[in-house]
Symmetry: C2
Subunit: 413 residues, 2 copies
């Protein structure tokens, strides 16, 4: 129990303790931990406590802390819990708590490599039906490996950053030539992002069993997508400009330690069974290391919750995505980020993209203000929110990831 005056069901209680990068007026960005509606200035608190490692928290990104690896993350969490639960620490810690209202949040991670997966069977099936109506919706490889591709790390932005409508080439099947202009099918993809720490040696895979050594935490991720640009460009080498203009992530990185109570099994991985390098091993709590996450998610479009995609329905697990990504010997680095791919459940109101919710633009979505939408209009705001079960009946908040669409800057140049 923390000595702070917090309701037991606060989504940022003592069982959560997510990391972010914040600044206050006139100060440089540095690492903080959220507790309730306060931010603990970690470098300041740790310096006062005489911890040698405080310097990693005085930086403007989590990367130096991520580089320290799992043992440092575990001891930091133990130290934090002690600071915030032992009343004897109160006088030392309280001066370093800053009201959330007084801080600006920054991108928490300097993103090294960004990979986006495609781990929802429902999403992949829906997109297959919409993009390739004359083929089987799932490609033959889909249940054998977590399909993924590299995205643009330089355009990952923090929640709250405005999204300029991208321009580019598109050609509808009914048109004879491509044309250039602002995207008219601008969409979201509601995802989780996994923040990677530690590092590995070139040529040596990270196994499913070792994935906990590298899976530091989770953010909400909006993989903004220009469907018209994507449809014209993506054969044969995959999505490029339809995705690379911006990817938003939430400011608070919720640790995998805080999400242990949210682990759920993946009972559907039987036909086909995954190859041994993806299979994982059973652990004491029975969940296996190839676990899913019971995260409740909502997509808010201009104030209307239009979808509640259940993360527990994802086919592939984070550990499997990491093991697959490195099985060819590719290294991981502190600050690597990988997205789950759009989270879509089996029901219509569980779809994580507007492409799916509006079924390719043919079935408009009704908002509470009486308007209808298929894709994003200028001025629209999307907010992603999520929570997970914590230990002892607590709630783990993942916070919000928001963005507002601004008009395209370029017309046909």
């Amino acid at each position: 129990m923390t000595w702070l005056d917090l309701p037991a069901d606060h989504p940022f209680g003592i069982t959560n303790l997510p990391y972010g990068v914040f600044s206050t007026a006139g100060s440089s960005p540095r690492v903080g931990v959220r507790i309730g509606d306060l931010v603990l200035d970690l470098a300041a608190a740790a310096e006062q406590a005489g911890m040698e490692s405080y310097a990693v928290w005085a930086q403007g990104s989590l990367n130096p802390f991520l580089a320290l690896g799992r043992p440092a993350w575990t001891s930091a969490r133990e130290w934090l819990v002690e600071q915030l639960t032992n009343p004897a620490q109160r006088d030392a810690v309280e001066p370093h708590l800053v009201p959330l209202a007084d801080v600006t949040m920054h991108l928490p991670v300097e993103v090294a490599d960004y990979v986006d997966f495609y781990a929802s069977e429902h999403h992949a099936t829906n997109v297959g039906r919409l993009f390739r109506p004359d083929s089987e919706p799932l490609t033959p490889n889909w249940k054998h490996l977590p399909i993924g591709y590299h995205g643009r790390s330089g355009t990952v932005v923090v929640s709250g950053t405005d999204i300029v409508r991208p321009s580019g080439q598109r050609k509808a099947p009914t048109e004879s030539e491509p044309s250039f202009g602002p995207s008219v099918r601008l969409d979201i993809e509601a995802e989780l992002g996994f923040v990677v720490g530690g590092s590995s040696e070139l040529g040596s895979p990270v196994s499913v069993a070792d994935s906990d050594e590298h899976l530091f935490g989770v953010v909400l991720l909006n993989d903004w997508s220009a469907r018209d640009l994507q449809a014209w460009e993506y054969v044969p080498l995959g999505p490029f400009l339809g995705k690379s203009f911006a990817t938003s992530i939430s400011p608070w990185v919720v640790t995998t330690d805080a999400l242990r109570a949210a682990r759920v099994p993946l009972p559907w991985q039987t036909d086909p069974a995954p190859l041994p390098y993806l299979a994982g091993e059973a652990t004491d709590d029975g969940a296996g290391t190839a676990y899913g996450l019971d995260i409740t998610y909502e997509v808010d479009w201009n104030g209307t919750v239009v979808s509640r995609p259940p993360y527990a329905s994802m086919y592939w697990s984070p550990a499997q995505m990491l093991a697959h990504m490195t099985v060819n010997g590719a290294t991981v680095r502190p600050g690597d980020l990988f997205g789950s791919g759009t989270i879509s459940g089996p029901e219509k109101d569980q779809r994580g993209s507007f492409l799916e919710l509006s079924w390719g633009g043919k079935e408009p979505v009704a908002l509470d203000d009486g308007s209808e939408r298929t894709f994003l209009e200028d001025g629209d705001t999307v907010v992603l929110r999520a929570t997970a079960p914590g230990p002892d009946g607590t709630v783990i908040g993942l916070g919000e990831c928001t963005g507002t669409i601004r008009p395209a800057r370029t017309q046909t140049p």
Copy 2:
């Protein structure tokens, strides 16, 4: 004319002056410029000359220098030429010249985002015939936009780094289930890589006309490719593990300034004509900013030159690739790297991958030692080399990019 004793046709003469990162025994990596078979220790020479900017050259990558942008690159080149041609500078400069034999070369750039294009019509046509024999070899978008995708920046390595054979999933069309194991179709892709400097604002494209502000220089690039992994994974989201295990680049970044005499027009861009944002504008020298590069390239397999791909045959120009990559508002950052895609000319002995040279493994390539090859065997060494015409009949060397294949570390785990 330099005061160094150099033959006029030396590929690293005064008209070249490429940048790299080197170290000597017991010293930290720092920036150097190659002249003949010597390396000029730039930070030391600049500090002695009282240049304030020397600190950017004392770092272990070119990124701080790249961040300074075009005006700094131009004045640095003018200063370098003065140092190496004015005999009055000889006594000050000579102590900072290190024999190439005494240095270790390092990765010249901390790669920010890595993109790989697909800009050779001959390569794309060959691969289309091999991978999709029942379709038109070029996809409908190919002549309208430079197709590209993001690769893994964390596994870009410097020439000379051993390449561990990757393992992964593959499934031949004749097999009913995928299997796991070391790649049996390990290949090269002979490319040029373009090193980007300066930065841009999110939402604002870099035009073809402005591309010179960001195109710093060129390296040789080997996009090692596991064709069996790639064929099974790449539909629908593009290449991933078939490419991400390693990409080698040459240690010396030859500046675009040194390659001005190598600019050639792209007369084939007429049917279809590129959209205006890709068209570029005519310049005084008549080459247009959407220029190609007359670079002569060779691929050496275990001592036998098996191919001479002509870079001048590439369909899309570097400026067009950069403009396309950012037309959706994606930013560029210092250290971004993009590859041209495999360079293949129209003739069989101009193909830049072994997939094409062996026509999918069906036509073995004869080496001078009497052996035959289709794909790479453990112990094989590949060396890429290139030169370009310089001003006044000089030759601009791009150096070498080499790698040797080591056995896979993982069997079926």
